[in-house]
């Protein structure tokens, strides 16, 4: 068979090879540029997502710190940690509660997750109940601890939990 149809080795064959390489080279260039562009875009997208996540984390941390201060202030109003609120403490307590409510409505809605939101609602309710003399200091302190734990878990989950839609 080989004898009957010998491989063409003349100038015509060399010309065809040159034609192929001429066609393949631009294709490879285009492919290389496309892959590079895709890599660049994907890298940029990843970077911008990370940047957003980083800035959200910082905002979250600042917001939770502010909440922590507001909770702490509410819990130290009763100077001797007496079981029920005393008439002398109500004014200071109301002032601190105002600051907590500012966090509740103004700072946290942008960054909080559902667990923190629930803990915020429950602490707000408990502060109201304590102020009315329905719950004692220990209930308030317990809700405060639950809220700060929820904030802590929320910060821990920020990097480990995949966001919705990602």
């Amino acid at each position: 068979m080989d004898d009957q149809h010998p491989k063409p080795t003349g100038p015509a064959q060399t010309g065809r090879n040159t034609d192929y390489s001429k066609a393949v080279a631009p294709l490879l260039t285009v492919l290389g540029i496309s892959v590079g562009a895709w890599q660049f875009t994907s890298q940029m997208s990843h970077e911008s997502k990370m940047e957003f996540s980083r800035s959200m984390y910082t905002k979250k941390l600042q917001a939770y710190e502010e909440v922590g201060k507001a909770v702490g202030d509410l819990l130290v109003v009763p100077h001797d940690e007496q079981q029920w609120i005393s008439a002398d403490d109500t004014l200071a307590f109301d002032s601190c509660l105002e600051r907590f409510r500012t966090c509740y409505w103004g700072v946290l809605p942008l960054v909080e997750d559902s667990a923190v939101e629930t803990a915020m609602i429950q602490f707000k309710d408990m502060a109201r109940f304590y102020r009315r003399g329905e719950n004692d200091y220990y209930d308030l302190a317990r809700e405060g601890m639950s809220l700060m734990n929820a904030c802590n878990v929320s910060l821990e989950n920020h990097w480990s939990k995949p966001k919705k839609g990602e």
Binding site: E117, I121, R132, G133
Partner: protein, 141 residues
Amino acid sequence: MSIHKHKHMFRTSFLFLGLVLGMLVNAQDALGTLTGGGSQQWQVIGNATAPKCSPGDATYTFSAMQVVVQQCAGGTWKSSNEVLETWSAGGKSGIAFGGAKYEVKSLPANAPACKGNAHCVRLTTVPDGKTDATRSIYLAH
């Protein structure tokens, strides 16, 4: 090393079991307070006096498995039966009926909301994730 590991596992298991049992006991306590061991009727504090009722007036009759809710609508009482269940989650417990979960707290008679009623409880809804508002019902019997 292995003994320490087993000890740690046992301790964790007992702690977890204790926590679960504690929550169950609390939920049963809440139910016991409301049912009084049988069936007990509670009135919303501030209900208008019979025979006429005002909007917002309600009575709740708790028994082991159900609660009969009577609500005032258009000057007359309307009654409905709801299944009563207990719940416990995240270190808290309470009762659930009518599509809402409640935490139950016995209040001292000198709490302003009790208006001098010795047997006074507060049912507070647990946040459901849909709205920020929680609701408190103050009951006495």
